[in-house]
């Protein structure tokens, strides 16, 4: 494993705290979510039984046997060792875990791997390689769309998916008209990227990288 557990856990704690407090603003829920669980289950838990799961990840068929509790994120990182996809909050709040499933972006932390039997998944490793970057990856480099880079794989997967969603006519909260085809304007892209939180605040450069790619495809 490239990440030592101490480092990934402390980083996770820091990011989870910031993302949680951003989403559930000014409440105690951020801290509450990591509080020790009380004894709630009345019956003893069943012993976990591994289940077979087959996924096509970045073009390769992967057959796994997983505890049903395994999230898609943990299957990718811990079982397939595709550590490009990051764990920030593990609660759907930060977007660091964004991957594409059947061409659509989701939070891999809030999905069980067993819910994806037969699905085709693209992670940051599948978008491009160091010698052959995806145009969005190249644009992030060109426009300095990151500082520490922790949120970046999720940002890039989301950015690629956002341009596709605009192309497919998916409306957003800031679309003036529901019936006109949405355009890849700055305000549209910012709204659609709101599920990806960047602790380093690289937002404006991310928007510039996206604008360049959106312009090329227009």
């Amino acid at each position: 494993m490239p990440n030592s557990p101490e480092i990934s856990i402390s980083r996770r704690g820091v990011l989870a705290g910031s993302a949680a407090s951003a989403v559930i603003a000014a409440t105690t829920a951020g801290a509450a979510q990591r509080a020790a669980p009380a004894t709630l289950a009345p019956l003893p838990a069943p012993a976990p039984q591994p289940m077979p799961v087959s996924l096509t990840v970045n073009g390769k068929v992967q057959r796994l046997s997983l505890d049903p509790r395994t999230t898609l994120l943990d299957a990718l990182r811990e079982h397939l060792h595709l550590t490009g996809t990051k764990k920030g909050c593990d609660h759907g709040q930060c977007g660091a875990c964004t991957v594409m499933v059947e061409g659509v972006r989701i939070n891999s932390c809030l999905s069980l791997a067993v819910m994806h039997e037969g699905d085709t998944i693209t992670t940051i490793e599948g978008l491009g390689t160091p010698d052959k970057l995806h145009p969005m990856q190249a644009a992030f480099v060109k426009h300095d769309g990151y500082q520490c880079g922790y949120c970046t794989p999720g940002q890039i997967c989301s950015a690629v998916a956002v341009l596709d969603e605009i192309k497919r006519g998916v409306p957003s909260h800031v679309s003036v008209s529901l019936t006109d085809h949405p355009q890849a304007t700055n305000i549209e892209m910012r709204e659609r990227m709101s599920g990806n939180i960047c602790r380093c605040g690289a937002y404006s450069n991310i928007a510039e990288a996206m604008a360049e790619i959106a312009g090329e495809n227009a």
């Binding site: 559930i24 603003a25 509450a32 289950a41 012993a47 049903p68 509790r69 809030l110 679309s175 709101s194």
Partner: protein, 317 residues
């Protein structure tokens, strides 16, 4: 997360029967609310029945001129449907005002209706919460209650229903279609679907154990201008402090429901007669009997002003 066993349902009746007959079993659809709560052990099901393969993922025209939305239609697909955007704009607007693009791609119609409260004490297993553990008390009463309910509350619970989509469905008079463990289908009007907390805040909806949602139907379009105005602490990606779903006709008549103020989408049909008289008159009747806390008393004028803004916009258009 507690261990659980897992199966994919073969049919709707099979899914309902399995959940009804297995102790501590639950359906899972998108998983975006259930897994979130399972990770912190607020939810501890021992068996999950996945319903994504049941084929309830279509939006179809009904013979009455409305739409039948499958329980498993993803929120993004519902908000993007051309018929919904054209005829039920309030619903598209409410959906895209909630959560994030990634979450809406995964979240389903049924799962969205059944999302649980965001009361911070419900999430904190070290705190008393009658909704999480019956009889344990309510930490929110006398605690931090800025986001919580102002009307329809009880001495047991002051939580809100946090969702956006259902508020639009309430204004549209949607109906929830279900099937139970015996294979019996029934239709529940959205007005009766979510319950007030009363003395049993654990029981949040009219669903029986194991009852599976199969679809939500919308009656034929009612025209008018459609609005979903959501007021929150940030411009995006936050739950509502107050939201207003409204359909307003040319003559000034219309329908209105509020989100973020009660344990269910809040609509009082009688108050809508006041629409031509203005937002004050409507809000006075809509929120008559409100019992806000010190922390959330601001929601009463905020709801009225948000409604005023929507009614002004309707007049200006």
């Amino acid at each position: 997360m507690k261990a659980f066993t897992y199966e994919r349902a073969g049919s709707a009746a099979d899914a309902a029967a399995k959940v009804a007959s297995t102790p501590n079993a639950k359906f899972i659809a998108g998983g975006t609310n259930l897994l979130d709560l399972m990770k912190i052990e607020v939810e501890t099901p021992q068996h999950l029945v996945e319903v994504n393969g049941l084929g309830f993922d279509k939006i179809e025209a009904t013979p009455e001129g409305g739409l039948r939305i499958g329980a498993l239609v993803r929120n993004t697909n519902l908000a993007s449907d051309a018929r919904v955007r054209r005829d039920y704009g309030v619903l598209s607007r409410a959906i895209v005002a909630g959560a994030s693009g990634q979450l809406r791609n995964k979240a389903t119609t049924a799962g969205n209706l059944l999302q649980r409260t965001r009361c911070p004490y419900f999430y904190d297993t070290n705190q008393p919460c009658n909704k999480r553990q019956a009889g344990s008390g309510c930490a929110a009463i006398g605690g931090y209650s800025r986001q919580l309910a102002i009307i329809g509350t009880s001495d047991a619970c002051i939580a809100t229903y946090p969702g956006d989509m259902a508020v639009a469905m309430r204004v549209l008079d949607a109906q929830v279609e279900t099937i139970d463990a015996r294979g019996q289908a029934r239709v529940i009007p959205i007005a009766d679907f979510h319950r007030l907390p009363g003395t049993t805040p654990r029981i949040e909806t009219a669903l029986a154990p194991g009852e599976l949602i199969t679809a939500v139907t919308l009656p034929k379009p009612i025209g008018g201008q459609h609005f979903y105005e959501k007021v929150r602490d940030r411009a995006s990606y936050a739950f509502a402090l107050v939201s207003v779903a409204a359909v307003i006709q040319k003559d000034g008549s219309g329908r209105v429901a509020l989100g973020g103020v009660a344990h269910k989408p809040w609509r009082v049909e009688a108050a809508e007669a006041q629409m031509p008289a203005g937002s004050r008159a409507v809000a006075a009747q809509l929120l008559a009997g409100a019992r806000p806390t010190r922390d959330n008393a601001f929601k009463v004028p905020l709801a009225e002003r948000t409604l005023a803004a929507v009614m002004n916009e309707a007049r200006a258009a």
